[in-house]
């Protein structure tokens, strides 16, 4: 089985993001970028499946501008076999991304598409679901564990009431939660080897996908700073404040 893994380039999770002075977007110029953490887990799981003999090839795909090449190189260094970069001016919105992934999946014919459950930048949590719908495949979302046997994936995901267990037939789309595994590091010798691995560059046009935006961002605002806390003298004052000022109890 071939596994297609999508990896997104996002602002490094340890960077404090800031809104551009003109409020058009979050500032990315000069800001450190990294692989989306959920995508790291997706890649790790695919590599484990290959090591366990479930898969024989792991192909990584990233959609976005030229800097995505770096993220794909990292994925190759971590262990993927082959990379595909679909070049788009900026990161397309979820629907366009899902269409691109769908087009690539039709060419590659993978048994499973492993994806991060969401990007930590837009936090849409849509692309995996849309891809499954466009392909007409089953989906296993937010997986914190996943096992494959006889063409069926049995996965667990955490829900409010506990653990939900699902089964889905391949081909399918699976999305990874952080608890799925602990992602490995790239090693120095593998970084060198990664430079020689196959790397393909495509455009949305070549895939006959319209990657234009459907949504318009009007304004991006910084959340208001948190107001300082108040110390109350006793329970009675707390109750009265909750009732009179915060109006959260009757």
């Amino acid at each position: 089985m071939k596994i297609l893994v999508t990896v997104k380039r996002v602002i490094d999770p340890y960077i404090k993001v800031r809104v551009r002075a003109d409020q058009s977007a979050v500032e990315t110029d000069g800001v450190k970028m990294a692989m989306n953490p959920f995508c790291e887990n997706a890649l790790e799981e695919a590599l484990r499946w290959r090591e366990a003999g479930i898969a024989n090839e792991v192909v990584v795909l990233s959609v976005g501008n030229d800097s995505c090449v770096e993220t794909l190189r990292t994925a190759l260094a971590i262990g993927a076999d082959r990379a595909i970069h679909v070049k788009a001016a900026n990161t397309p919105q979820p629907l366009a991304t899902a269409k691109i992934i769908t087009a690539v999946a039709k060419r590659e014919d993978p048994g499973v598409i492993w994806m991060g459950k969401q990007g930590i930048d837009g936090d849409y949590n849509q692309t995996g679901q849309m891809t499954a719908a466009l392909l007409g495949w089953g989906q296993g979302l937010f997986l914190s564990s996943a096992k494959f046997a006889d063409g069926v994936v049995t996965g667990e995901s955490e829900v409010d009431s506990g653990i939900r267990v699902i089964q889905v037939k391949t081909p399918c789309v699976l999305t990874a939660d952080l608890r799925l595994n602990e992602a490995r590091y790239a090693t120095l010798p593998n970084i060198m080897k990664a430079k020689k691995k196959p790397f393909e560059t495509l455009t949305p046009e070549e895939l006959s996908v319209d990657a234009s935006d459907r949504l318009t961002t009007l304004i991006v605002n910084t959340p208001p700073p948190r107001a300082g806390g108040v110390r109350v003298a006793d329970v009675a004052e707390l109750v009265s404040k909750l009732r009179e000022e915060a109006k959260v109890i009757a």
Binding site: I15, K16, R18, K32, E182, P189, I191
Partner: protein, 544 residues
């Protein structure tokens, strides 16, 4: 333990800053010109090139002109903001007096840059001509052959838990073996310190002296690209060496920072709080009003100049850039000298490789560099910084005499002192009350730290090690009132009162560390030892 994996290169460079990158680029250029094949790799402990780079910075392009003469025509080169005006002021608490700008501080033809961005661009140039750059890998160990010559470095093991056991992610370090190793770790590099000791590179020299520079990047409506301001005086007292820099960049950005000489004597002094207070000066506050701080960081710098430079060559390796100490304090610049030292090292290594000499001691590199323009400019200003130990006015008057009358040709050379031995006991000093940060112009240390992007893998042994645990409380706290809690710009050191007792204990929040190395320098008994944490850890500066 299994054998480590080995990768072989002709030259391994430790540290992806201006010196290391200039060396890498020059090596590949020389190789191409002379038809040699020279393989070069560069290790960087930061998560990417530039992530740990921090400087003012005004760049004198002299070395860059020699290295990449076409840089001005390159659209992608981030060096764009030419200096337009230059002011040097003395501050009192309420007033600002303009002083004549000393000739060494004139900035015609210079550029205001972000060192981080400049480094990223240089790294692209280096990769473009075949240099292997490995960010996220810390060189943790020097490798020696049987004759004692340096033959490369090893990267640190990754995936070691706090308790020293291997985690599921354990990955053994790799040996990078080389015919020559260039140490360009920056100021107070940990491996540079090791080779200096091993090869006695510092025996004949005065000790190195240092300063700590703390910097913020602001976005404001009051930026006037190209303007340069330096101040001395308030809020520092006359007996403390230091001052501020304030550089106006493009796109509404102002880089400002404060440098305090680490030979300060009062353990109650907090360089961080001096900087916060400084921003409230009536000449500074209006520039920042209504703006926002977008990045924060700190780094130690060399102030030893000519006298502080150790021997540069030893069997199999050389020291370059701030790892050796080429900062010109009078100019407040060191990127150009760092780059030139890297280029010079590269040329001598390429020649040695061509002649078939491996692991030799390249004494000619040192000789050439000392007689090059780098040596010239450092020698001329060598006596300026040492005189400031007698106070601001003595230092300034001497600087004027030395510059205008003696023109740097005085027949004497003043020596230095070790910074760590300069602290007085707390009982001999007055505590300093700093105003509380207002959250608009000035901030608490931890609030600011969030803007450094600092991160370390949490489950790893602390990379800040105490040689003797009891000294922290018995000496540092009792005699010196815990100076590390004040000079550390990242809040790594905290003296915490133990529950149900009057005893205090030192807590080391190693995760906060921005790799400035000040603790390694200033700790009064040299009990604190800075080592490299797991690769990729540390700050993630955005254009500092």
């Amino acid at each position: 333990m299994s054998e480590r994996e080995i990768m072989e290169y002709d030259v391994v460079i430790v540290g992806c800053g201006p010196a290391g990158l200039a060396a890498a680029i020059r090596l590949r250029q020389t190789a191409a010109e002379s038809g040699q094949e020279i393989s070069v790799c560069l290790l960087e402990k930061g998560a990417e090139p530039g992530a740990h780079s921090l400087a003012g910075a005004v760049l004198e392009p002299r070395a860059l002109d020699e290295l990449l003469p076409q840089w001005r025509e390159d659209e992608t080169c981030p060096i764009k903001t030419a200096v337009t005006t230059d002011r040097f002021c003395f501050l009192t608490e309420k007033k600002s007096y303009r002083l004549p700008t000393p000739p060494s501080m004139h900035n015609e033809g210079n550029y205001i840059v972000s060192l981080g961005r400049t480094v990223r661009w240089l790294a692209e140039q280096a990769e473009g001509i075949g240099v292997d750059i490995f960010p996220g890998f810390a060189a943790a160990e020097v490798l020696y052959n049987e004759q004692g010559a340096v033959v490369g470095v090893a990267t640190g093991d990754m995936g070691i838990a706090k308790d020293g056991t291997q985690t599921g992610n354990y990955q053994q370090g790799v040996e990078l073996r080389a015919k020559y190793t260039i140490f360009s770790e920056g100021c107070r590099g940990s491996l540079s310190a090791e080779v200096m000791k091993k090869f006695n590179l510092r025996t004949d020299d005065a000790p190195q002296t240092y300063g700590i520079g703390i910097k913020e990047l602001w976005e404001t409506e009051h930026a006037n690209p190209g303007e340069v301001l330096h101040t001395i005086g308030w809020p520092l007292r006359n007996d403390t060496y230091g001052g501020s820099f304030l550089y106006h960049l493009e796109a509404g950005k102002i880089a400002l920072g404060f440098v305090v000489g680490l030979d300060y004597k009062n353990p109650y002094l907090s360089p961080y709080m001096e900087f916060q207070r400084f921003k409230h000066h009536p000449a500074i506050a209006p520039l920042l009003a209504g703006g926002r701080r977008i990045c924060y960081g700190a780094r130690a710098l060399n102030e030893g100049g000519w006298q502080g430079i150790p021997q540069l060559a030893f069997p199999g390796g050389v020291l370059t850039g701030c790892a050796a100490g080429f900062l010109n304090v009078a100019k407040i610049k060191g990127v150009h000298t760092a780059m030139k030292s890297g280029m010079s090292a590269a040329e001598h290594i390429a020649a040695a490789l061509k002649a078939g000499n491996e692991a030799a001691t390249l004494n000619d590199y040192e000789k050439d560099l000392r007689t090059s323009w780098v040596g010239d400019e450092l020698r001329k200003v060598r006596n300026i910084r040492p005189m400031f130990r007698h106070g601001l006015w003595a230092g300034l008057s001497h600087a004027a005499i030395d510059t205008y009358l003696l023109r740097g040709k005085a027949p004497w050379t003043f020596g230095h002192h070790n910074d760590h031995s300069q602290l007085k006991k707390a009982s001999e000093c007055q505590a300093i009350e700093y105003p509380k940060p207002d959250g608009e112009l000035s901030f608490s240390r931890l609030e600011n730290l969030a803007y450094s992007g600092v991160n370390h893998e949490a489950n790893q042994p602390a990379h800040l090690k105490l040689r003797d645990n009891s000294v922290a409380v018995n000496v540092n706290l009792q005699d010196y009132a815990g100076p590390e809690a004040r000079y550390c710009p990242a809040g790594v050191y905290e003296f915490v009162k133990e529950e149900n007792s009057d005893q205090h204990a030192l807590v080391i929040n190693a995760q906060n560390c921005v790799h400035c190395k000040t603790c390694d320098i200033k700790d009064p008994t040299q009990n604190i030892h800075w080592t490299t944490p797991e690769g990729g850890g540390g700050p993630n500066y955005d254009s500092m």
